[in-house]
């Protein structure tokens, strides 16, 4: 005997699932942004060896499926390093690393997009490399990066659905559970899909707002 009707409690379940998905997304985004940016700064300073290591790691992370990375972390860490990982920890590590690799690529190209002439001017006036990075490059690179970053993060939100396969109770996992119980896939997955869509829209909206603000100096205001 199975109970195939929807109940009000299902909404709570969905909300919990959405919370887990968004929470993991936010946490891995923050970690990924920090690590990816740090890697880009290491490259900016052309730190030998470390720079090559970072490029190599980023290449590995970019060019292999996230699901494979997830399995390698979830099953590999306990097997090879004797570190026991829960599904959430494995998910955080994998998604953060993956986000970092793509943030790194965006950050590097944003830094390189800033005209050499301004950087030379700042250097000629005696600003240090760090001051140039902070006052000249960073503000402009950020305005340049925000578009690609928004695209990346919208995608990374969808990628979080992969973690349901290792048992994290995210939105997709909840969808799976509801689907198996109610046997109404079109309703369940439509609702789950709409929730992802709305979350993605919020990210895109936030990105666009931030971009407008960062690009204020290029907007023509008239004389």
């Amino acid at each position: 005997m199975r109970y195939t009707e929807f109940t009000p409690f299902d909404i709570v379940l969905l909300a919990q699932g959405l919370g887990v998905s968004v929470g993991l997304f936010l946490a891995t985004t923050v970690i990924g942004l920090l690590i990816g940016t740090l890697w880009a700064v290491v490259r900016f300073y052309r730190v030998p060896v470390l720079m090559q290591v970072i490029t190599f790691v980023a290449e590995l992370l970019k060019n292999s499926p996230v699901l494979v990375q997830l399995f390698l972390v979830f099953f590999g860490f306990p097997a090879f390093f004797h570190i026991n990982l829960g599904p959430v920890e494995a998910a955080v590590i994998t998604l953060s690393g993956n986000t970092a690799a793509f943030v790194y690529v965006i950050a590097v190209s944003s830094i390189e997009s800033i005209g050499r002439d301004q950087i030379e001017a700042a250097r000629a006036f005696g600003l240090t490399k760090w001051q140039v990075l902070r006052h000249i490059i960073a503000p402009q690179a950020m305005a340049f990066a925000i578009g690609p970053l928004t695209g990346l993060l919208v995608n990374q939100l969808q990628v979080t659905s992969l973690i349901s396969v290792i048992g994290v109770m995210d939105l997709t996992k909840i969808g799976n559970i509801l689907n198996l119980r109610t046997l109404k896939p079109f309703i369940v997955w439509a609702v789950v899909g709409v929730l992802y869509y709305l979350a993605a829209k919020i990210i895109a909206y936030a990105g666009a707002t931030l971009e407008r603000r960062l690009r204020a100096h290029t907007a023509w205001k008239g004389l």
């Binding site: 005696g126 240090t128 004389l223």
Partner: protein, 244 residues
């Protein structure tokens, strides 16, 4: 004193500067003339440390520009104005002017801003201090560029073809400002194609050809028939420039 001694600079297989000697004493206005590709701009870029020397040495007030620690000091003493302005596009005119005084000279921000506004006003941009470079005309941008250099209170002003990207009217605006600075005794190293202007404001003229400093003469003598003009290459260059 800026002292360049047997300066050599090589780009790949091309020798851009070949044993160049040049001394600029405080108060002098030295014009560097020469055709395109003769190494004029490269010489300026070597003085402010944007290019590494492949030979010889340059010192600014005895600070060796090839040593990173001393270069920082040398750069505090020289201000550069660039051909393509090279302003920071995300900063207002005033922020462009105050960035280096605040960050490099550690001047209090309010003080730097007051001085910056006064400088901008002195070149007729008093009401444009809060405009971004994209909202300014070429001539206005270059005037901001000059203020940015002056805000560092440099002992030496390095000017790299500062009017080449401007139309004649804007050129006149900028040259007026430079003439005023020259009159006030500002030391300048002045790379230019404006021959007549160089003649009126410089105390000395040097002529570069294919990376070699061919002639270094007081302005009067440089333009005299038995001085610089006796060199057929210079005579040819000058007559060509005047035709344009």
């Amino acid at each position: 004193m800026i002292k360049a001694q047997s300066v050599r600079k090589v780009f790949g297989s091309v020798t851009v500067l070949d044993s160049v000697d040049l001394t600029v004493a405080p108060g002098e206005v030295v014009s560097i003339l020469g055709s395109s590709g003769s190494g004029k701009s490269t010489l300026i870029r070597c003085i402010n440390g944007l290019e590494r020397l492949d030979g010889g040495s340059i010192t600014v007030d005895d600070f060796d520009v090839s040593k990173p620690k001393e270069l920082a000091e040398a750069r505090k003493r020289s201000g550069t104005v660039f051909q393509m302005f090279n302003l920071y596009p995300h900063m207002t005119a005033l922020q462009n002017v105050t960035l280096a005084p605040v960050e490099v000279l550690k001047r209090p921000k309010a003080e730097a801003e007051a001085e910056g506004r006064a400088l901008l006003a002195s070149v007729g941009l008093g009401d444009r201090a809060d405009a971004f470079p994209s909202q300014l005309s070429g001539g206005q941008r270059q005037r901001v560029g000059i203020c940015r250099a002056l805000a560092m209170k440099p002992r030496y002003l390095l000017l790299d073809e500062v009017t080449s990207a401007l139309d004649p009217e804007m050129t006149a605006d900028v040259l007026d400002i430079l003439a005023k600075l020259a009159k006030e005794g500002t030391t300048m190293v002045f790379v230019t194609h404006e021959i007549e202007f160089a003649r009126t404001i410089s105390s000395r003229v040097v002529f570069l050809e294919k990376g070699r400093l061919v002639v270094d003469l007081p302005t009067e003598q440089f333009f005299a028939a038995d001085g610089g003009l006796a060199n057929p290459r210079i005579a040819q260059f000058l007559s060509k420039m005047r035709k344009d």
